[in-house]
């Protein structure tokens, strides 16, 4: 069954194969689809099979001094924890960061691809690309692969001429500008802590501590999040990694074990 793309094709060029000369809008790609009885149902099933739930916690927020970005580091395949040390904050270039949620391969590949595009933009235009532009480039790519099973829930955080920028971009092709975002299965828990403690005028240390706590609380309750809580700061001079703390250690730092007073001491029974 061949996808009917005749409605999407642009006017055919007069001289056949010289497609570059009629660029602007090139013909939409077409491809063979599987022979099935129930195509729509099959497609839904295939997507469900491929779609990993975004088992992770990532968050980012804009505050007075810049952007704070934090993430956990656990990768899980169902109930199996495949890694506790995944780098979920991807360095696109010295002044822009991306977070990873969803398919690790998808996120890593497309962020590197975005890095290439950003660099080419810099070389062509003799100025850095804005966070708006970079997030738009990624969103356009993801939109063109819509429905093909990509799983990407990412935040693009950076500092450009207009100041700090933060965008949420996902595999549906959605793109949102915002001040606070959290993405992943642990995001509800992170939002609770983040929204409660957020103030625009925080210092860098206060903001880092808020981000760290939010990730810790998410890892505490969400089974698919854990490992190390990494915190990055993006300021006018670019990004800087502030900390990477094991969440187990963070737990005992926040809730140290008090030696409990024993109310009744069990005495050794003498004799019988």
């Amino acid at each position: 069954m061949k996808l009917d793309t005749t409605g999407m094709e642009s006017a055919a060029p007069v001289w056949g194969s010289h497609n570059e000369l009629v660029d602007g809008f090139s013909a939409a790609p077409s491809f063979e689809l599987p022979n099935t009885t129930d195509f729509d149902g099959f497609q839904k099933e295939a997507i469900q099979m491929v779609k990993p739930a975004k088992g992770t916690t990532t968050l980012a927020f804009i505050f007075k001094e810049g952007v704070m970005v934090a993430a956990d580091s656990r990768a899980s395949m169902g109930g199996y924890i495949s890694s506790q040390s995944v780098k979920k904050i991807i360095e696109i270039n010295p002044y822009m960061l991306g977070t990873m949620a969803g398919g690790a391969a998808d996120c890593q590949f497309w962020h590197r691809n975005l890095g290439i595009k950003c660099r080419l933009h810099e070389l062509a235009n003799k100025r850095r690309i804005s966070v708006t532009g970079a997030s738009k480039l990624l969103a356009n790519i993801l939109y063109s692969y819509r429905g093909m099973g990509l799983s990407v829930g990412t935040m693009i955080a950076g500092w450009d001429e207009t100041g700090p920028g933060l965008y949420y971009v996902d595999n549906e092709g959605g793109r949102l500008k915002g001040m606070r975002f959290s993405v992943g299965s642990g995001s509800p828990y992170a939002y609770g802590v983040l929204d409660n403690g957020y103030r625009y005028d925080m210092s860098v240390e206060e903001a880092a501590e808020l981000a760290r706590r939010a990730i810790y609380h998410a890892t505490f309750r969400d089974g698919a999040s854990g490992g190390v809580a990494s915190v990055y700061y993006v300021g006018p001079n670019g990004w800087k990694k502030l900390s990477g703390d094991d969440v187990g250690e963070l737990h005992y730092r926040y809730y140290p074990v008090m030696p409990s007073t024993v109310e009744q001491e069990m005495a050794e029974v003498t004799g019988a």
Partner: protein, 251 residues
């Protein structure tokens, strides 16, 4: 499909691309066009063929806008110009769509020049027969720019330039008389350059200015006439002053 694959633009034994050079000839036969860059304004001026009585002159605008902050004037084949302008306008919008930012003057000039170059290296097509003068303001820095492209696909930035008929005389005039100007002075300089080769009068020239605040503005015929009168008056005064200086020496 008809096989128009054979290249029309091929090298000659002594390294020339004759089609491109012939295209430059076509440009040299086109109407005169001049562009001058000031500190806060850029001015484009184009020669208008003497008013054909029944033609509606408003439909033959020779200075067009590519975007809010970029305008273009050209010399050469006007039909080719229409095609190139349409592609450039699409590219301006496409750039806004993909990176949510307006194009820089250099970017769109590079695009147009690239397009002109492509047609010198493809089968079955001839080069575009026009040179363009592209003016605009950088959307971020607010710096005004003037660029020129030609049928070979090269481009460069200029403080002032002319193309089309008698462009050499205009360029010589500009080289002699160019200085950093702003506002009204820049408009006068552009019109003075055009008047070197064009019959004076508002109905023979079309002038447009581009400023950061107001974008592209076409000057009315009456405004042009007023400036022409100003220029003539200045010329007359300069002549009289020269004569007055010369006179005492005779006695």
């Amino acid at each position: 499909m008809a096989r128009y694959d054979r290249a029309i633009t091929v090298f000659s034994p002594d390294g020339h691309l004759f089609q491109v050079e012939y295209a430059l000839e076509a440009v040299r036969k086109g109407n005169a066009a001049v562009g001058v860059r000031g500190t806060d304004i850029v001015v484009l001026g184009v020669e208008k063929k003497s008013a054909v009585k029944l033609q509606d002159s408003r439909s033959v605008r020779k200075i067009v806008s590519l975007d809010d902050h970029i305008a273009l004037a050209c010399a050469g084949l006007k039909a080719d110009a229409r095609v190139l302008i349409n592609r450039a306008r699409i590219e301006c919008q496409s750039h806004r769509l993909t990176v949510e930012e307006p194009v820089t003057v250099e970017y769109i000039t590079r695009y147009i020049a690239g397009l002109q170059q492509k047609y010198t290296q493809s089968g079955g097509v001839r080069p575009f027969g026009l040179s363009t003068l592209i003016v605009g303001f950088d959307p971020y820095t607010g710096v005004p720019s003037l660029y020129q492209t030609d049928p070979s696909g090269t481009f460069s930035a200029w403080k002032a330039n002319a193309t089309g008929r008698n462009s050499n005389s205009m360029r010589e005039f500009l080289e002699k008389n160019y200085k950093e100007t702003s506002g009204h002075e820049t408009i006068k300089l552009a019109i003075r350059a055009l008047l070197e080769v064009v019959e004076s009068g508002g109905k023979n020239i079309e002038v447009a200015t581009m400023t950061k605040e107001h974008g592209l503005r076409q000057l009315e015929e009456s405004e042009i006439d007023a400036i022409v009168a100003e220029i003539e008056a200045e010329k007359a005064a300069a002549e009289a002053a020269k004569k007055a200086l010369a006179a005492p020496k005779e006695t």
